[in-house]
């Protein structure tokens, strides 16, 4: 016992791997938030009037709100006036036209992270819209996608090129009044991704975005909007990692998905923001609002997330099942180690007839990590024949960590079927010893057991992502022997 505990400490104390900073001249506005800052952001991005108005409405609404405190997460007060709300790599001013024009140091950064864009272009067939700080700097495969009528670009570009689509759909799933952080995002978001798949088109490649926070004390506020028109299909991958930083960085993104009749959107996330050091100093606050709307019959939206990073992860990717027979899915692996905290889950709002939802949540807590599943299954009166299946499993490594489950179930239609299963287990000494007695080292055994625990979620990820997710888990867990 004693030797294993010692080894555990030693291994848990291994540093965060993708930790480095790129030196770029950032074009950063002074700290603080006022209407002027919002006007400045909007002006810098040469936005049409409707965008500025929308931002200002959000800002004025935000001033009337107070920071929510109902979750299990704990953090020191955030000084919203001590954040710089805009930062763009200066090379953007000249506008890179191709990868060759992109700051080489920036490309190097991606390479260090194992995301060589060119390679991905050629080998993986993945179109990458990379967000570096707040502005997209490289978008690939656009032409090929454009041939199919698919729009995949940075949010700023969409505002310029497709203002009618932005105007029609922005805020239609997550209104600017939605919640404190989403409202803040609506006021100050700088960039993100935009994707539109026209009717009947099946997007031929996985769309992917790599996010990265860099400049110190710059909160990042991405906004992603994905629309799958009637009968369209798209699979979208979001992965992120961040360099070593001392101070907490606020990350309040909003993702809106809209699936029209018969459309399908798959959205997968591997989140590996800087989690803070072993004593809980630093790390990203990841307060995200993600929501999908199955707006037509037979629409389908699935969220798959692997959350291993961030000091605090606070997000509930949700689905509004409006169309009859629409399907919502949420699969999650959330891992907290050291002093990381996660309060995550989903909301499935059943409005249409015969709507179905599935929730699979796997929480893993190690070190002093705290992990909460919080989920809502809401079946409205109109949702005749709605069905939900929820499975919530927690795995504990060590005796200092915590796991909580907060399932909320509200059913207003008597024909609905709602199932909830939950389990909490520890990686048993028995399991570990069993593997060891077969010649498998303890560390490898932990990875094997945890990956087994997460299998139902990983198998939903595209192959390359599944491999990345498994690697992430093993790095995050090395030696976490309970």
């Amino acid at each position: 016992m004693a030797t294993q505990a010692l080894k555990l400490d030693e291994l848990i104390n291994q540093g965060y791997r993708p930790g480095f900073t790129t030196f770029l001249e950032a074009d950063t506005v002074p700290r603080g938030l006022t209407e002027d800052v919002i006007r400045l952001i909007s002006a810098k991005k040469a936005e049409p009037e409707f965008m500025l108005e929308w931002r200002l409405k959000a800002y004025r609404h935000w001033l009337t709100m107070t920071e929510p405190h109902w979750s299990t997460v704990r953090h020191p007060a955030i000084d919203y006036q001590d954040i710089s709300y805009y930062s763009a790599p200066r090379s953007r001013a000249d506008g890179p036209r191709s990868l060759a024009d992109v700051d080489p140091e920036l490309l190097l950064t991606y390479e260090k992270l194992g995301v060589p864009l060119q390679e991905r272009e050629l080998l993986a067939g993945v179109a990458v819209d990379a967000v570096f700080d707040s502005v997209s700097v490289a978008t690939t495969f656009k032409d090929k996608l454009a041939g199919l009528g698919i729009i995949f670009c940075s949010f700023s570009e969409a505002v310029q090129e497709h203002p009618q689509l932005v105007r029609q759909y922005l805020g239609s799933v997550v209104p600017y009044t939605d919640n404190y952080f989403a409202t803040l995002n609506s006021a100050v978001f700088t960039d993100g991704s935009f994707c539109y798949i026209p009717p009947g088109v099946r997007c031929p490649m996985e769309l992917s975005t790599y996010f990265r926070i860099n400049a110190s004390k710059t909160g990042q506020f991405e906004r992603t909007l994905i629309i799958a028109d009637t009968g369209a299909y798209v699979s979208y991958l979001e992965g992120c990692t961040a360099p070593m930083r001392d101070e907490n960085q606020l990350h309040a993104a909003v993702v809106e998905l809209i699936a029209l009749e018969g459309a399908q959107i798959k959205y997968a996330t591997v989140q590996n923001w800087y989690p803070g050091d072993k004593d809980g100093r630093g790390g990203i606050y990841n307060f995200v609002t993600k929501r999908g709307d199955c707006r037509g019959a037979n629409a389908r939206i699935s969220w798959t997330q692997v959350e291993t990073g961030s000091a605090i992860t606070w997000k509930y990717p949700s689905v509004i099942l409006r169309g009859d027979n629409s399907v919502g899915e949420f699969r999650s692996v959330a891992l907290t180690n050291n002093y990381q905290q996660a309060d995550t889950g989903t909301k499935m709002i059943h409005l249409g007839r015969n709507t179905r939802s599935t929730i699979i949540s796997k929480g893993i807590s190690a070190g002093h990590g705290r992990n909460a599943y919080r989920g809502l299954v809401n079946v409205a009166k109109s949702a005749v024949g709605a069905r939900n299946y929820t499975q919530c499993d927690s795995l504990l490594l060590g005796d200092q960590c915590a796991a909580h489950t907060f399932p909320y179930i509200e059913v207003k239609n008597p024909t609905a079927q709602v199932e909830h299963e939950a389990s909490t287990s520890r990686i048993g000494e028995d399991q570990l010893f069993y593997c060891q007695s077969r010649g498998i080292a303890a560390e490898e055994a932990v990875t094997m057991i945890v990956n087994g625990f997460c299998k139902e979620v990983f198998k939903e990820l595209p192959m390359e992502f599944a491999v990345e997710a498994q690697k992430l888990l093993s790095v995050s867990l090395e030696g976490s022997i309970g």
């Binding site: 399991q431 069993y434 060891q436 007695s437 077969r438 010649g439 498998i440 303890a442 094997m448 087994g452």
Partner: protein, 268 residues
């Protein structure tokens, strides 16, 4: 191959250390099969687990040499790679980990240790399918999560399958016969019997004589209250079957009394 001398082992119970093994001496040579018998609580399973490296026990005295080296210098996975195999009395379930995956990882860990190349999926499958057939096991079992939803018999067979694939030098079977019906017992016993070889030693931990009808041991040891109360040939198991464990327990009680008496005598 294995030399156990004066082994004392305890387990933490609150603040005190509860002794379980109280001076075991045992020598097992290559090619031999030893049966370790004894009533519940006599320390049979503890002995098996300590040899495999379970760290919830504390070794308080004594020494175990394996292939000439100090066994306690090795962590459990090293012992396994050096050829020690423990067939568990209660094999654990590992959800989501395919049985075949564990087996392949185990075999390759050993091969790497011996400086041999890892087996690829094709070669591994060929190897395991042969063994599977011999054990009369369904191939589907390979793809199910380790021991999850296995019947008692399937779990025990799976242990023997692992043993057959890993080809240990020293196999320790902890009550592999318990909970088996007579047909399953036969299959498991045949599996073990086929593993007998001049290079391999086998320790069978068992409650009952019936396993020994199929696998005739070279030596039988009867554990009682943490000590080997009696050792002998296969006939000892039969006598035990006839007379019951009370017979050796009685001996042990007498021995303890005599010991206590002699200590008192020495003090006086």
């Amino acid at each position: 191959m294995l030399e156990i001398s004066n082994l004392h082992v305890g387990i933490e119970a609150g603040k005190t250390l509860q002794p379980i093994l109280r001076g075991i001496d045992l020598v097992v040579k290559a090619g031999e099969v030893h049966a370790v018998m004894g009533p519940n609580g006599s320390g049979k399973s503890t002995l098996a687990q300590v040899l495999a490296g379970r760290d919830s026990y504390t070794v308080t005295a004594g020494d175990v040499r394996y292939l000439g080296g100090n066994l306690f210098d090795l962590p459990p996975e090293e012992r396994a790679r050096e050829g020690i195999f423990l067939a568990f009395q209660y094999p654990v379930e590992i959800p989501g980990v395919a049985n075949i995956y564990l087996l392949k990882a185990a075999l390759n860990a050993q091969r790497m240790h011996r400086g041999e190349p890892e087996l690829d999926a094709v070669d591994f499958l060929a190897l395991i399918k042969g063994q599977l057939k011999r054990m009369g096991m369904d191939e589907a079992l390979l793809y199910r999560p380790v021991n999850q939803g296995f019947s008692g018999g399937e779990k025990k067979r799976n242990e023997i399958l692992q043993m057959a694939v890993l080809e240990p030098r020293l196999a320790i079977l902890d009550e592999t016969d318990s909970g088996l019906d007579i047909d399953a017992l036969k299959v498991v016993a045949d599996g073990v019997q086929s593993m007998r070889s001049p290079e391999r030693a086998i320790i069978l931990v068992t409650h009952y004589q019936r396993l020994l009808d199929y696998i005739v041991p070279d030596q039988v040891h009867v554990l009682s209250q943490g000590r080997i109360a009696r050792s002998g040939g296969p006939e000892l198991a039969l006598e035990l079957e006839r007379r019951g464990y009370a017979w050796v327990d009685g001996d042990q009680v007498a021995a303890s009394r005599a010991e206590a008496g002699s200590q008192r005598g020495a003090g006086a």
